[in-house]
C-alpha cells in the first residue's frame, strides 16, 4: 500500500511539474497580452523535434553524439522555440490583441493546426511517432521500496530552478518589472516609457522557452513524441492555467499540480481510470469555473457600470 502510494506520488510530482511549466506559459502570455495563445501547447511540443533534428545535425556535421551533445541539442531547441514564439507573436498573435476574445481563440487554434502540419511535413516521416530519449536515466534513490529515477529528480529540480529563475526575473530585473507593469495597466505602462513591443518580445521568448522545456520533459517522460501531442499538452496546460487563475504564476503551478493529481488519482483508484482520466480532469475544470469563475488564485473581474 505504502509502495503504491509513493509510486503514485512520484508520478504525480513528475506530471504535475510538466503541466505547471506548460501552464506558466499560458498564464504569462495572457497576463501581458490578454490573449489566449491556444497554440502554446503546439509551440512547446515542437521542441522535441527540434532537439532530435539538432542532435542529428550535430552527429552528421561534427560527428559527435552522446549525452553531452544531446544536452547541447536540447539547449538549441529551447532557444529556437523561444524565437519561434517571438516570431509567431509578431506575425500573428499580436494582431488579435484588441480583437474579440473569440477571434483570438479561433486564430490561435488554427495556428496550432498550422504548426502541427508544419512539423508533419518538414520533419522526415513527421506523421509517425518518434522515439525520444530519457534525458536522464538510472535510479537515484529508493523511498519505501520505490525506485525514484534520476529523471524524476531532473524534472522536479529543473522545475524548481525554472520557477525560481522566473520569479527572480520578474521580481528583480528591470525587464521583469516592466513586464509586470505592462500586464497590469498597458496605458499607464506606456506613460512610464515602457515599450509594448519589447515587453511582448521578452514575454513570448520566456514563455515559449519554458514551454519548450516542458515539451522536452513531456516527450522524455513518454519516451516518444508525435506531431499532434501539442493538442492535449495545450488543453491540459491551458486548463491548469485557468484553474489556477489566468495571469497568476503561483496559480499556474497549483493548477498543474491539481490536474496531474486528478489524473493520477483516477488512474489509481477508479476501475479503468486511465481511459477516463480526461473526463475527470475536465469535470474538475467545469466545477472550478462554476464556483470560482476567476480561477483559484485569480483576481475577480469587476464589471464597471
Amino acid at each position: 500500500m505504502a509502495e503504491l502510494f509513493v509510486q503514485q506520488l512520484v508520478n504525480w510530482v513528475t506530471l504535475g511539474c510538466i503541466y505547471a511549466l506548460l501552464a506558466i506559459g499560458f498564464s504569462l502570455i495572457f497576463g501581458v497580452l490578454n490573449v489566449i495563445h491556444f497554440s502554446h501547447g503546439d509551440v512547446a511540443m515542437t521542441s522535441p523535434f527540434i532537439a532530435l533534428a539538432a542532435a542529428q545535425a550535430l552527429a552528421i556535421a561534427i560527428g559527435v553524439s552522446g549525452p553531452v551533445w544531446l544536452t547541447v541539442a536540447t539547449c538549441i531547441a529551447v532557444f529556437a522555440v523561444g524565437l519561434i514564439g517571438v516570431i509567431l507573436d509578431k506575425v500573428v498573435i499580436r494582431r488579435f490583441r484588441d480583437a474579440p476574445a473569440m477571434m483570438a481563440l479561433v486564430a490561435t487554434v488554427a495556428l496550432g493546426i498550422v504548426i502541427r502540419e508544419l512539423i508533419r511535413h518538414l520533419y522526415p516521416q513527421g506523421s509517425n511517432p518518434h522515439a525520444f530519449p530519457r534525458l536522464a536515466s538510472g535510479v537515484a534513490l529508493e523511498i519505501a521500496g520505490v525506485q525514484v529515477g534520476w529523471f524524476t529528480l531532473l524534472v522536479v529540480s529543473l522545475t524548481l530552478v525554472l520557477v525560481v529563475l522566473l520569479f527572480a526575473f520578474l521580481r528583480l530585473t528591470p525587464l521583469g518589472l516592466r513586464i509586470r507593469a505592462a500586464s497590469e495597466d498597458r496605458i499607464v505602462a506606456r506613460m512610464m516609457g515602457i515599450r509594448d513591443t519589447r515587453v511582448f518580445r521578452a514575454t513570448f521568448f520566456v514563455a515559449s522557452a519554458i514551454g519548450a522545456i516542458a515539451g522536452l520533459l513531456f516527450a522524455s517522460y513518454a519516451g516518444v513524441t508525435r506531431f499532434d501531442f501539442g493538442v492535449m499538452a495545450g488543453l491540459l496546460g491551458f486548463s491548469a492555467a485557468v484553474i489556477g487563475g489566468l495571469g497568476s504564476m503561483p496559480g499556474a503551478i497549483l493548477g498543474g499540480l491539481i490536474i496531474a493529481g486528478i489524473e493520477v488519482l483516477a488512474q489509481t483508484f477508479v476501475p479503468d481510470g486511465a481511459s477516463y482520466r480526461l473526463v475527470f480532469v475536465f469535470l474538475l475544470v467545469i466545477g472550478v469555473l462554476l464556483f470560482r469563475p476567476e480561477g483559484l488564485l485569480g483576481r475577480p473581474v469587476m464589471v464597471k457600470v
Binding site: V106, D272, V285, V303
Partner: protein, 391 residues
C-alpha cells in the same frame, strides 16, 4: 455594415432577371467546383470567387441591387431556389462522391446555423457544438439499434436529449464569460467525446455500426431514388432529406432572428449591461442560445448517423467544433446566408484540396488565420434589419 439606401428600386422584370441569374450562376459555380479535378481548376475557381468579393467590396451598389432585386420578387427567387435544389442531383448524375459532399455540406450548414444563434447573434462562445451533434447522432443511433425505433421517432428524441445537454452547458454561462466560458464549453466537449469513447454501450472507440437506413412510405433510403424514370443513386434520398433540414434550419433561424428573441440576443451581444437595463433576462437568454444550438445540431447528428450508418467518437471531436465555429466566422456572424456559404466553402474546399494531397490541413489553417486578419467581419457581414421598407 450596410446602411439602408432604397433610392432606386429595380423594375420587376429586371429584378426577376437579376435574382434568377444570380441563383443560376451560383448553382453553376457550385457545380463547377464540385466537379473540378486537379488543383489548378480549384485555384482558378477560387480566384474567380475572390475577384467577385473584391468587386462587391469596391462597388457596394452591386450588393444593394442584388438584395433589392431579391426582395422585389421573393416568389420568383423562391421558386428558382427550390428548382435549383430539386434539380441539382439530376445535373450531378451518378457521381455519388459529389452527392456525398453536398450532404455533408448541408449538414454542416445546419450545424453552422445552429451555432450562429450563439456565436453570431449573441456572441457567446461554444466549442461544444460538436458534442451536441454527437449526442444527437448517438441517441438516435442507440434508439434505432437497441429498440428498433424508426428514424422519424428518433429525430425528436435526439433533439430533446441534446437540448437538455444544451441547457446543462448553458448554465455555466450565467457565471463565466469569454475565455473562461470558452474553456467550460471545451471541457464539456472533451468530456462528452471521451465518454462516448469509453462507455461500452456506445461501442467505445469502435463506435456504433449497422444503423438501419430510414424509410418513408415503404421507400428505403438505402435504395436508389427513381423519379419519372430518372434513377438517382441512394445518396439522393439523404440529399433531399438534408436539404429539407437546411430549409427547416433557415426558417428557424429567420423566425428567431426577426422576433424579439433575436433582438434580445443582439442586444446582449452589443452591451450586456445596457441589455439588462432594457429588462432582458440576460442569464436566461444565454442559456436559451445554448439550448437552441444543441436542438438544431441534434437533427444534423441524427441524419448523419442514419446516412453513414456508422458513427464513432472521432466524428465529434474538438476539431469538429472548431471547424463549425470557423464556418460561422468566415461566412459572416449573424448572417444566415453567409453562414451557409461559409459551411459549403469550408466543407468542399478541404476535400477539393486533396489535389494537394497532404497539404490541405496546412492550407486550411493558413486560410483561417489570414481570414481573421484580413476580413474579420466575414464574407457576408451582418445586415441591419429592414422591416418591410416598401411602406
Amino acid at each position: 455594415m450596410s446602411t439602408h439606401t432604397s433610392a432606386e428600386l429595380p423594375g420587376l422584370g429586371q429584378a426577376a432577371f437579376v435574382a434568377v441569374s444570380i441563383q443560376l450562376l451560383s448553382a453553376a459555380f457550385l457545380y463547377l467546383i464540385l466537379k473540378a479535378e486537379g488543383g489548378w481548376q480549384v485555384i482558378g475557381l477560387l480566384a474567380l470567387l475572390g475577384a467577385g468579393f473584391y468587386l462587391i467590396e469596391k462597388r457596394p451598389q452591386i450588393a444593394d441591387v442584388v438584395t433589392a432585386s431579391f426582395s422585389r420578387v421573393p416568389v420568383v427567387a423562391l421558386i428558382t431556389a427550390v428548382a435549383v435544389v430539386l434539380l441539382f442531383p439530376f445535373a450531378v448524375g451518378n457521381n455519388t462522391y459529389v452527392l456525398h459532399l453536398l450532404i455533408v455540406a448541408q449538414l454542416y450548414a445546419v450545424l453552422a446555423l445552429a451555432l450562429n444563434f450563439q456565436l453570431g447573434s449573441a456572441n457567446i462562445p461554444n466549442f461544444a457544438t460538436g458534442a451536441s451533434y454527437g449526442i444527437g447522432a448517438y441517441v438516435s443511433a442507440l434508439l434505432a439499434i437497441n429498440f428498433g425505433l424508426s428514424f422519424w421517432l428518433t429525430l425528436p428524441a435526439a433533439a430533446i436529449a441534446a437540448t437538455l445537454f444544451g441547457f446543462l452547458i448553458g448554465i455555466p454561462s450565467m457565471r463565466t464569460r469569454d475565455t473562461y466560458l470558452a474553456l467550460v464549453t471545451i471541457a464539456f466537449g472533451v468530456v462528452v467525446q471521451q465518454l462516448l469513447n469509453n462507455f461500452t454501450w456506445t461501442g467505445g472507440p469502435n463506435g456504433l455500426v449497422g444503423i438501419p437506413a430510414p424509410s418513408l412510405f415503404g421507400h428505403s433510403f438505402a435504395s436508389p431514388l427513381v423519379v419519372f424514370g430518372w434513377k438517382l443513386p441512394s445518396q439522393a434520398n439523404f440529399y433531399y432529406l438534408s436539404a429539407l433540414l437546411v430549409v427547416v434550419a433557415i426558417i428557424t433561424a429567420h423566425r428567431l432572428h426577426s422576433s424579439r428573441i433575436g433582438l434580445a440576443w443582439n442586444a446582449l451581444r452589443a452591451d450586456e449591461i445596457a441589455a439588462r437595463a432594457q429588462g432582458i433576462n440576460v442569464a436566461w437568454f444565454k442559456v436559451l442560445a445554448f439550448a437552441v444550438d444543441a436542438f438544431l445540431a441534434a437533427f444534423a447528428g441524427t441524419i448523419y448517423a442514419f446516412y453513414v450508418s456508422y458513427i464513432s467518437p472521432d466524428n465529434f471531436t474538438f476539431l469538429v467544433s472548431v471547424t463549425i465555429m470557423t464556418m460561422v466566422i468566415v461566412g459572416g456572424m449573424d448572417n444566415i446566408f453567409g453562414v451557409i456559404v461559409g459551411a459549403f466553402l469550408l466543407t468542399i474546399l478541404p476535400e477539393k484540396l486533396r489535389a494537394f494531397s497532404d497539404y490541405r490541413l496546412l492550407f486550411f489553417g493558413i486560410v483561417i488565420i489570414a481570414f481573421l486578419m484580413i476580413r474579420p467581419q466575414g464574407l457576408f457581414p451582418q445586415r441591419i434589419r429592414s422591416y418591410g421598407e416598401s411602406r
